[in-house]
Amino acid sequence: MPERLRIYIIGVGGQGTLTAARLLGEVALRHGLEAVVSEVHGMAQRGGIVETGVKLGGYKGPIIGRGEADVVLAFEPLEALRGVLALGKASKKSWVLTNTHPIRPITVSLKLGEYPDLERAFAEVERRVARLIKLEATALAKEAGSPLSLNMVMLGALAATELLPFPPAELEEGIRAFAPRWAEVNLRAFRLGRAAVAQALAETRAPTE
């Protein structure tokens, strides 16, 4: 397990990115690691782009700079493209985990912009990073019992990569403590996300083994 990790979380206001970031910070702290979590409040919450940085293991500054994200956790595919291709947060060493379910921006509905061709765009992402993993996180959240559990699916996906400096069980414990009322749905979502990515990883590994 690495001691230091920079997780760049990007999504759309209302998707629960802040809660996911905060949970990672809480669990890291409980594990005995230093954690710095940057948040965005105010206007950005109203359907806007929400970027959060989670820096574990003794970083001081809250912002994740260009090429500095070890992991990009994208709650929406266009936002994955934004984080990697437009904002350049990833490097050749980065992992990118993204939800595949699009949320059309209002600028697209108003015909002020065009939603990009995801297939072509993700080919470009794949060229630029170490690893790209796509998952149907929105569908998995619904399967778990609530679309609001999307952030837990994404945390599960992250836990499956084994990049986190603490074991998944500690994250599950954090989820349980964070919102006991929703623990059942949240844990189901977490496990669905984790299983989906674990399976994707197993499939890609198999031929070389």
Binding site: V37, H41, G65
Partner: protein
């Protein structure tokens, strides 16, 4: 909700700051909410009854500061928090408090917003410390926000001066592990004071002020001595090639960049946490120890100018670099890239690949944006829609003045009903100006909390001077954008039940004769009222209060 136990917690800078103040024995706190300061007040509001302090969301920052100053003059430790532009509103009172001085500790918190994440400007409020002569503390992270809030009260009492504590968005809205201590028991907390009269100190007429200014300069000398020995001002590292002088969150980026570039043995860092008055002794020693100095500070080059002046006074040949090097400019917040590039430039290091890539134009940089929009079901949408129907084609020649709140988003298409905005309350004042100076129809939009904050004097002015325009009060029964804080129009405050000040009676008391109250969800009723109000507003100041609770009220938690 945080428990009242001592332990390490993942706290937001704002929460840590509030906690530090509570630990220091805070007895009285006020605020007007504004990003990125809001969670200071919200944290205190949540804990106020439990820990037994007085807390209120005041009507505006000036009143908030006046209340806190009075509490501190009565011997109760007091805090007032606001966003950076809030200090403009409170500036008149603030500057006088440096002349009168304080008795119990008085902590004035300003939360600046470099990059304007949610503000109309990125003014650097460190200038206020210079302007007013206030001791200034600048935390670089939540841990320091906690420690400095705690230390501010004894510092304020030692100097008899209010202390200005300046955070920025990246300190206020960053979470980090903070080791907090125990809160004092309620009976150990002084929440009730006694004001010992001293009119020739606290009544700031010219003869008093002349003496007070002299006293302030003497107190600043003492403050400078305290700055020399302040634990918040320190030198890190022993490198002899380059000195780095920094304050606030820039310090964090500097440390990360030095780590990453692996240059700790080449540099030393002067970190200034108490950055006004500057520790001139510490600085002159630092300037003598290195051949070159790089100043890393967001926004204005205040430290840089002070260092240049001091080097000149000392006749030193030290090279001082700052704004203009690498990514360092007076614009926008700093980030790891900007700071690292400046350090690399000054030390002639190879820059990282990522730095060079930035200049490559890429088609992927033009992805569709997601501007913030009014929420689905937001009553403001209905108000805008009904008024748009009532105006028809006339909307094109109508000047829409707008104000600070969620409804500023009426700017964006398809609503496109915002033409002018300066600051809190400006919709009504500027509407008067447009009504007099043009022959166009003028409509002002203002929210309920904003009307109380700074709209009322402009209403009185418009009535008295006969300015003819329409005011639409978008009354969603809360201060929505900053997180649903109460305001004087409601029957509750942060601490419990309160006397409501009904907007229609208030306006009627100001002399407004044409007042309509509508529910924007009733489209037909709203349309009729707007049609009538538009006609009336050609003859006199007319107000439509469009009242419907924010769709998010009661949905939190």
């Amino acid at each position: 909700m945080p428990q009242l136990l001592a332990r390490k917690r993942l706290l937001l800078g704002n929460e840590a700051l509030a906690w530090g103040a509570l630990e220091a024995g805070l007895g009285f706190a006020t605020t007007y909410p504004g990003t990125p300061a809001s969670e200071i007040g919200d944290t205190l509001a949540r804990l106020a009854n439990e820990v037994g302090i007085y807390f209120e969301y005041s009507v505006n920052e000036k009143v908030a500061l006046e209340l806190a100053a009075a509490a501190a003059a009565s011997g109760v430790r007091a805090l007032v928090a606001m966003k950076h532009v809030g200090l403009n509103v409170a500036a008149d009172a603030f500057i006088s408090t440096l002349y009168t001085g304080t008795r119990a500790g008085l902590l004035v918190v300003t939360a600046d917003d470099p990059s304007m994440h949610s503000s109309q400007n990125e003014q650097d409020n460190r200038y206020y410390a210079y302007l007013a002569g206030a001791p200034l503390l600048e935390p670089s992270d939540p841990k320091e926000a906690y420690a400095m809030a705690k230390a501010a009260f004894p510092l304020s009492e030692e100097l008899d001066l209010p202390v200005l504590l300046r955070t920025t968005t990246r300190v206020a809205h960053t979470r980090a592990g903070v080791e907090v201590g125990e809160l004092p028991k309620p009976r150990e907390r002084k929440v009730q004071g006694h004001f010992a009269k001293d009119p020739f100190r606290f009544v700031i007429v010219p003869s008093v002020a002349r003496r007070a200014h002299k006293l302030l300069l003497e107190r600043q000398k003492r403050a400078e001595a305290l700055s020399e020995s302040s634990p918040f001002n320190s030198v890190l590292g022993e490198g002899e090639e380059l000195g780095i002088v920094t304050s606030g969150v820039s310090y964090a980026y500097v440390c990360d960049a030095i780590d990453e570039l692996g240059i700790w043995e080449r540099v030393r860092v002067l970190k200034l946490g108490m950055s006004h008055p500057l520790p001139r002794g510490l600085i002159s020693q630092f300037l003598r120890e290195v051949p070159r100095v790089l100043v890393v500070e967001e926004l204005e080059p205040l430290l840089e100018m002070a260092l240049r002046a001091q080097a000149q006074e000392l006749g030193l040949k030290v090279q001082i670099y700052g704004k203009g090097v690498g990514g360092l400019s007076r614009l926008y917040e700093y980030d790891p890239d900007r700071v690292r590039s400046a350090l690399a430039r000054v030390l002639s290091l190879e820059e990282k690949e990522a730095e060079q890539e930035r200049d490559e134009p890429s088609p992927w940089e033009r992805l569709p944006d997601r501007p913030p929009v009014l929420c689905p079901g937001c009553p403001h949408r209905a108000s805008y829609y009904a008024l748009k129907l009532a105006l028809g084609k006339e909307a094109e020649n109508t000047i829409f003045t707008t104000d600070i709140g969620c409804y500023t988003l009426g700017l964006l298409p398809p609503l496109s009903m915002a033409d002018h905005l300066l600051c809190m309350g400006s919709s009504v004042g500027t509407a008067g100006g447009f009504a007099k100076a043009t022959d166009q129809r003028v409509i002002a939009f203002i929210g309920d909390s904003t009307l109380f904050h700074a709209g009322l004097p402009a209403i009185v002015n418009a009535v008295h001077h006969g300015h003819k325009f329409l005011v639409v009060v978008l009354d969603n029964r809360t201060t929505a954008m900053t997180g649903h804080q109460p305001h004087p129009g409601l029957d509750f405050s942060a601490l419990g039940p309160a006397e409501p000040v009904p907007i229609e009676r208030l306006l009627s008391g100001c002399g407004v004769r044409k007042i309509h109250v509508i529910d924007p969800e009733d489209l037909h009723g709203a349309l009729l009222a707007f049609q009538e109000a538009l006609k009336e507003s050609e003859r006199e100041l007319t107000v439509v209060i469009s009242r419907h609770p924010c769709v998010l009220l009661g949905q939190e938690g």
